[in-house]
Symmetry: D2
Subunit: 337 residues, 4 copies
Amino acid sequence: MYNVSIIGASGYTGAQLVELVQQHPELTLSGTYVSSNSADANKPIGELHGKLAHVDATLIPISDSILESLAHDVDFIFLATPHEASHDWMPLLTSGSAKVLDLSGAFRLKDTEVFEAFYGFSHKQQASLDNAVYGLAEWYSSSIEQAKIIAVPGCYPTASLSALKPLGENNLLDSAVRPVINAVSGVSGAGRKASLTTSFFEVSLHAYGVLGHRHTPEIEAYLGTPVIFTPHLGNFKRGILATVTVKLKSGVTQEQLDEAYKAAYADKSIVRLRSSFPKIDDVAHTPFVDLYWKLDESSGYAVVTSAIDNVMKGAASQAIQCVNIMTKQPIETGLVL
Amino acid sequence: MYNVSIIGASGYTGAQLVELVQQHPELTLSGTYVSSNSADANKPIGELHGKLAHVDATLIPISDSILESLAHDVDFIFLATPHEASHDWMPLLTSGSAKVLDLSGAFRLKDTEVFEAFYGFSHKQQASLDNAVYGLAEWYSSSIEQAKIIAVPGCYPTASLSALKPLGENNLLDSAVRPVINAVSGVSGAGRKASLTTSFFEVSLHAYGVLGHRHTPEIEAYLGTPVIFTPHLGNFKRGILATVTVKLKSGVTQEQLDEAYKAAYADKSIVRLRSSFPKIDDVAHTPFVDLYWKLDESSGYAVVTSAIDNVMKGAASQAIQCVNIMTKQPIETGLVL
Amino acid sequence: MYNVSIIGASGYTGAQLVELVQQHPELTLSGTYVSSNSADANKPIGELHGKLAHVDATLIPISDSILESLAHDVDFIFLATPHEASHDWMPLLTSGSAKVLDLSGAFRLKDTEVFEAFYGFSHKQQASLDNAVYGLAEWYSSSIEQAKIIAVPGCYPTASLSALKPLGENNLLDSAVRPVINAVSGVSGAGRKASLTTSFFEVSLHAYGVLGHRHTPEIEAYLGTPVIFTPHLGNFKRGILATVTVKLKSGVTQEQLDEAYKAAYADKSIVRLRSSFPKIDDVAHTPFVDLYWKLDESSGYAVVTSAIDNVMKGAASQAIQCVNIMTKQPIETGLVL
Amino acid sequence: MYNVSIIGASGYTGAQLVELVQQHPELTLSGTYVSSNSADANKPIGELHGKLAHVDATLIPISDSILESLAHDVDFIFLATPHEASHDWMPLLTSGSAKVLDLSGAFRLKDTEVFEAFYGFSHKQQASLDNAVYGLAEWYSSSIEQAKIIAVPGCYPTASLSALKPLGENNLLDSAVRPVINAVSGVSGAGRKASLTTSFFEVSLHAYGVLGHRHTPEIEAYLGTPVIFTPHLGNFKRGILATVTVKLKSGVTQEQLDEAYKAAYADKSIVRLRSSFPKIDDVAHTPFVDLYWKLDESSGYAVVTSAIDNVMKGAASQAIQCVNIMTKQPIETGLVL
């Protein structure tokens, strides 16, 4: 059994992590934390997240001394915290034997200039950044296995890269035409907070972050080619559907395309290659990535759609997959029951 | 043509009033206002309410001098403001020839103690209170016609009283058993503001204000008998469905019940006596009240359901009905096209 | 390990049972069946229920010979079938050693006249009816433990009785005033079928089955007193919220009320006594019943709300609870992870 | 005043047309019809469409003799009928003085082979096809004004072409890269019928008709260039959001792009050029097209989003716009109040 602590348990990802740790046969929850000045400090977790009303856990306010002792006392620390908090706390949290799974964006990119441009802060943790491994579980398992710090991927990049990497890695993309990613996310993606933008009456399908969203450089970095990424806010609670339109190299056949996906995900229990275009509900509350694709051979354009639960595969369950890799358990342990 | 001004046009009711005034053949919009320290001051109204993107109106910050000039310069003032603002501004607004339609709760009840207990403030405007007429259009048209101040009814009381008054006025209710009103409101009822309670992810059907909601004394005052009223927040944007369970006096027949409703609403164009139990969408974006009922003669229990759009008949369109009464136009003018 | 088969796996309850059996540590799925003339026969289950795309199971068309062999070969048979099918097949299914959990309404009531009046068929299976035990798990566990046939309760009765039985059993209800149950169900309650009534565009909160729903006699039979029950269709997929208004006997205090609930559910892991009024999402996708209540001591009226997932505690997870009781495992085995 | 009849009033578009005709100052409703073997024949329209409960109109079963008399007796006939019905009835309906607005797809394309491939029937009405004018109101008003038959555009083409034509007409598109249109439609787009696909529980965002939807040739025909069009079903009732990604010719600036839209829609009251990316609710229940766009000058890629109400601008209100053009009234008459 491994001891795990969750920092940032007042948010939706934190709450999901609590659920997943509770149901995991090899993990024991040892502490749920919130920031020291959180209005939620010292509340029972079930008061914030009604679904967890039966869970006996309190939201402990974090402090430097707690951070330090966690670094030595637990096996895994999940950081479901703002980018800046993850950035600032990482050196202390990694000063002991604990391994850290950071669900913020603070360690996902190697190029520090991107943080200034897209995240609004200047990155000072070069050493941690050098050590961090990108936690896209199906693609980087060997480095994940060895890592001290996992930068758990963003939700949109997880959906997008799951669809695109089989094409990129097999060199099937026509480099003259950028892949176009249109994605719609449920409102949980915006986090648990009071905001007019995400108030019930105001939510209605629309594009945002057009030609400038911070997940664009993340997708491009791990795909290795520029893309046009347009996120949308949808009127549902959980899930992302990414619709990816690509132009393939001249002469690529449907068979080659099928083969690329089958080869990439042959033995991957979390990625489901479907027989029709998936819908959000197929994956909501699950750890799965569902993929389906179609090619118009005459024009060379193909459309791939990728569905995930943004709070699960887009955050919490992907972090658990990484822990499973690091502890050499089957990757779906505690996730597919 | 009558000139009308709307104070509180940043909210959902205010925006609805703008729409209704625009489409009314006898009303001209002369000014949309917000409180002087509103973050929305001086913005075009379409920036807040995308549906009004084609409307040329700016949100003017209100001031005492504007309040005073409105009192003399316009025919009707709509107050879509917090209770306290309506309370404080009423003497100044009624100092000229303008008539005021107050959509807050500040003048709906005659008993000032209720304000202290249910609204959290002490009422100081006895004179205005004495002059105010309750604007339930189908039931108080003769006093509305003469009034200087209209207290436009609350959304839940409108739905509830529309269902119950035909029974109360015809003396059909068994006084030993309280009517039970269960009502579900769309989220617009909570107003336009950032709040965790009404954030999209958090909204999910639940009861609130149980055995203590401020609309209870309003319903009881105008029905004349105590009730059990339980409001709920529903996962939709507009509308209220009130399900009213009553015990009728021994021997009351289905025919008597039918007759009570038909007589009450025979010539009322806004109340639709339906042939099946109405749904929210039947009335959303409309000024209508839809009613249907069923009696179990053997037990004497009857169930009545009442559906309205909370922003329309529960607020804005009822205010327009009152203006139509005050200007001796057909009551549905500008509402049923 | 126990072998279980599911008949009616094309429906939402059947699909939920597949999920629950898969994740249960002591149950093995041995066969998912549909009616012999179903359009879904011989399809992989994941084609109907995208969420189960990773499950290797086919929908086998049922036949008399299969029914008979199941009766001898498996330990538990779940019937997620129409009332008439359960009624007709029960003698054959109970002819061997298998125990049957019937999720239809065919064996929930002892009074056969009710079936004629409320279910539209004449009951011919007196012997099975005599043997059937009502599977409300928190209340009838000792008879469930011995039973051959479990009539798994209806969704509305589960929500309603969970709220009302602590009051009825403690003799707190004023018998002169009927409890009023207003309940709103998600659309899954209507089953998986093409119907204009449950088409997306048409669904909008409304009452139905007023003063005549078939769950009324079921609630009354197990509460022991008449009620007014008004179901509603809500615009959400899963869950029921029942709002129960009762008049208590003169002098009953809040403390007595609290005590009644605490005593009834003290050691019941599936019932969560909450500290505020629950919402549907607190229980969606979970096996829990969430309860909260408030009393107005001056009038003697109390309001209790009860939230369940209609497909889980209102059907599938309650059936699993019964299996847990029958196999002497902790009641939450395979449900609370 | 002009007399209009609506054939196909049992559907959502037909019902919307009834509303629009009722509120139009120059149109009089003279007859609402359904197919002769419709289950809805002879019902009051309010029984099907609760929102129209106050409208005094009955669904008259159509017959050849009625078709013929309509051709001579009314000014405008709206066909909210299946493609095949419009196809078959057109010669008779145009045998008199009446003008016909066909909201089906039967007369939208000049190339008859497309009907065979995308609509599944062989087109036999060459003469009517030759006379039909495509009713995209902002772009073809001079031919609409003279037409006997208007083929009212499809919902997706209306949203897509409104966004793309200013770019195409100004020759701004890089012809080497196809425009990518991702659009999400509300469920009303599927029409009023019982279907598992559009049942409430099943609806969840997903792509359909990928690389083969019948609106693709329609968009391409009126844009004049091939596109990749991917429609999606969204979990809302009304509205379409089309997100269009284009590569512009080298050197095109944001200013040129802005100018193209402003010039195209300068005097068009129904198209609103917004100051931020529109959402579905901004246009739901309205006749408007809302547009906003952004260009990344360095890469030459631009994203345009277009929002319409599919039942209004995507069908019924666009038909009314055409009538306004044909009767030389301001285009927004009866639509923007």
